[in-house]
Subunit: 241 residues, 6 copies
């Protein structure tokens, strides 16, 4: 099975990190290809960023079309996900979508932990969009943050461990989602210090994409062809056929 | 006061229709400018279409920047709305957003009527996104439709009147939103045959945009400048400053 | 346009304060008349108070009938609002209703700030009644309060500024409603110290009433005449025709 | 135990009917006093009617103050209920409140049946207010009705039986509330034709009022005395002490 | 009237305590029989415990079948309740169900107080199952606890009083449920120190069971007989006829 | 990987059918063992049945303990699921849980189709329990049914196709769950006649169980050992260590 993992931003080091996390849990017969968005923004933070990241993510999906059996959109917030599900004939999963569903199957109540409260509105909207808010035991977030996102996971590791403990003990979380791009891959580091299972969105998405691809083989979508102007040819191509 | 009304699709006849509806309710001191999206799709129907219509709508907002005191996104589904609210320093309203809020202020329960059930999922998602689902008395939609959207309002006028009657009598609707682009401007035609007030999204948006512009004068947004690649310069300009 | 603003309590100094706030945002062609309830209570705090304030508010609306194009009920909790919408042939808005809708159009998530936690249950019920609870990022309220409501806004200005900061930073509020009668008119004083827009219910209601009056011209209501005994003649008059 | 049953409208024949239904289920030691509202309206149908019925119901409760251990507000929609709970030192129950709670304790899902769809909005609002909407399997209501409310129960008995069958078989209702004043007392007549238990609001309220009076003996309320003007002295008396 | 009160665990001292609390509020003509589960677990804490306590509770109900007019399942979480309602021809109430309904009839907003946060997930699930979450003003729970559940009520009495004060003052609770088996019977001790009414689940259940038994006399259930293997004969007997 | 599939009833022919469906989608390296509940009921229909099926399902899980890497509870309604998740150190999934999650990942809105309305309450409760009700576009169910569950899928195939068409066209379902034991394995037969993807719960559960087992390797559970009496030794064993 071939899985395309799209980093919705344009930063190659993040793409590498995501690819490594994906490969660590993929089944033996699964081949992972991790790519960056071909254009857009180096970091996705606001709702305006999500909007711009949507076509950029579709462009990556279009460029590799026909060369994967399932795809993962590896950006918390799942930019372009609903459109991709409509336009493509293979399963496409977002990493926040995957984190919420996997966590719900692991226990009745999941917590969400991240390093800064600034991300909470985005996470709450994303959770509401996927419909699983009633399964969430609560959010535990760190204070405002203005440092390097590339090292925040390590810099705030003790804080994250403390937030996880609060989530489990105070909120009754039975598993915990480590949310937000900068925390990708930090779960193995943190797990020994936390009493309940930790969920990494990218890894959940890869396993669930394998599951869905086996369940729902390639099938034509009802999309009707239309002429889209003003976007990269590969994006227009998705709408055109 | 100057209000920019953006038709999120590229069809000029629709833009003309929207502009006329807007001018019919604008206050005497208000100047309406109605423009089409500079690129994108001739008709917005699916979630994938919404995604493409977002940057196209932002492009129109960017091209006229500085020349309006409030803006209206005149496409049911409100493409680009959340991003526009973040990026611009004047009030921006969507026509479905405006229809839901205006209808809620007219009565406790509003109905939603449209000519085909195919639009119901989109309307329900949009209603849920704006948070007013509990105020909705129910949807009444016509059967599948494959004719000309440009004349469906007139072709199905009797059906619409019957659906409105069901909405008021069976569902207890105290006012009714005529939803979907092809029904823009049909409210005055239909109102004499309907016992409860009808709400037209474009007209609601124009009046509410006037209200909000008076309430919340131009103010700087907290958006931090970033370099956006792969989009039209005017869109990149919105992110850049 | 003529707008009647009804203070649902019997305290003239509050009526003056409300009238001034209303005039500050009214359009140039709008004439504001602010009146007190002709009977009832000097202050509206409990659910029992709301009940008594309902007929008192209707009485004020009835006394001035025919001399306004829209009305505002200027008491947090909107006493008599649902009945007034049924009985009158012009738009009637409540100030909490208006605050919730205006805040929802300004941003995805609004905070609610007030000077004492004792008001929280009332605000939560009112918010739930209007159906916009999912748009609320949270409440931030001061401690118990037993001082003078007439000066609490000034006395607790620093506290209010701190609560607003928490609402924006911790809860992710993108705009903030200053809730409760005693805070009417304090927004301009506080705005320079707060990073997100502040919403004053009275002012929101005036602008939205202007909008609705333009959208929905005077129209007969379906109310059937009935004989009401035991109430002031002007209230009975509303039911009688 | 003494229970006061207040008919919130001014029609004595309805009061008699309610009193008889109440006595039929009261415990042997319970004395039922049924009274009409001393003023107000002969029939309560709209939201405006609910508002007027509130002070009228309080007046009845005040006139008999000190001569009952619990009270029942016998009008679907429970006018004045929240205020009465605040102002009185004995349990006060509404018949719709009681019907919803009793039905929830009889089975997981209750249906609501009534003779005309025109009442549905009121019932839905009342159900939402009491918070038990998730327990409701659905509404089954007859067509528009313009006959005599005093005989509609008997006139539409076959229709009611058919609606109850649909509620049980199609909606999965495990018990059914016969809702609306004109159906008071019709449950025993209808029960032999219905496979699931029928709930009469007045009777549920009497039994639950007995329960609550035993559980929560007379206790002082936190209400602070205030001067209320413009209402009957007995109502003002409730606020005054 | 005869009421069977089933302690779903196997600890006789708990059964005695429950029986005493029940008798303290029962009507003069009511006879209380309190029994332990005939098998199962000495303490019910987890979801797995609830599952095991279900058949054990049914067994107790079956052993005494025909000798009671209503039954109470006296274990927070109400194990076996839904099945018992289906299988028995008399009313069966759970103590958490009863607490939630009684509290809702006492005031608009109830608080939930208990001695340790570890019980919160269970209480929240139980509250959601009964559908009354919107009536809950919030939870106030003590810290982790590893002492003797038999004396925790007395050991943590000051803490409980403080939590009740927070619930009333910060959360606006108008009455408070003391939740969890170990707090059964502690309400009278605590009530003098708390400004709002306290609700004890067992006592609420006894009074409400009396009410329901009078409302809904013994009636055949639609259950169809089936052969159940692998359970105690008395449980199989419930399914068999 | 080894997956144990437990049929929660005692009917071997159903177990065979489930096993075949499971094997049809399992990955090449996965070994499926399908077993019946060792005791209990031949068919699970009511809430009382669910209660009895819980310990029976746990008994099957306990008998094979240590010989599987993940387990599936193959009975709509997921009896014993929450307890099994607590007691076992490998992932356990229910087939309704799996159907809801898989359908949510396939599209924004899923429909639920089954052959008789009698099952609707159970399905709705199960859907609410898993928290995904907002993703459901609606239920389409056949009329009352008293025939042979073993052949109903074939007998009502035309009806099912018609219900699926209504779900897609009227309700806007983007994929459809065929719900209820008797429809297990009918999806391949029906898919050619339905325009949107069909989801079979057993097959979804097998693929998702593979995914979760890879994501969350065997880990100790926090369960504390307790002595359980009155149940089969293998069930008691789960509680004991």
């Amino acid at each position: 099975m071939r899985i395309l993992v799209v980093n919705s931003n344009t930063t190659p080091s993040v793409t590498d990190r995501i690819g490594a996390a994906a490969r660590a849990v993929a089944s033996s017969g699964t081949e992972i290809t991790a790519v960056s968005a071909p254009f857009g923004l180096p970091l996705i933070v606001t709702r305006a960023d999500w909007l711009a990241a949507g076509p950029a993510t579709l462009a990556a999906l279009a460029q590799h079309r026909g060369r994967y059996d399932a795809a993962v959109i590896a950006c918390f917030g799942d930019p372009g996900l609903d459109a991709a599900k409509e336009l493509l004939d293979v399963p496409v999963l977002g990493i926040s979508e995957a984190a919420f569903h996997a966590a719900s199957m692991l226990g009745r109540r999941f917590g969400v932990v991240s390093f800064t409260a600034a991300l909470r509105p985005m996470f709450e909207e994303c959770l509401a969009h996927h419909g699983l808010a009633s399964r969430c035991a609560g959010f535990r977030m760190g204070p405002a943050f203005s440092g390097d996102p590339g090292t925040v996971a390590e810099d705030r590791l003790d804080l994250l461990a403390a937030l996880c403990a609060e989530s489990a003990e105070q909120d009754g979380a039975e598993c915990i989602i480590l949310a937000g791009g900068p925390l990708a891959g930090v779960a193995p580091l943190l797990q020994p210090r936390v009493a309940v299972p930790l969920v990494d969105g990218t890894q959940a998405a890869v396993r669930l994409a394998e599951a869905m691809a086996g369940l729902m083989p390639r099938h034509p979508r009802a999309h009707r062809a239309r002429t889209l102007t003003g976007f990269a040819p590969e994006v227009a191509g998705l709408y055109g056929a």
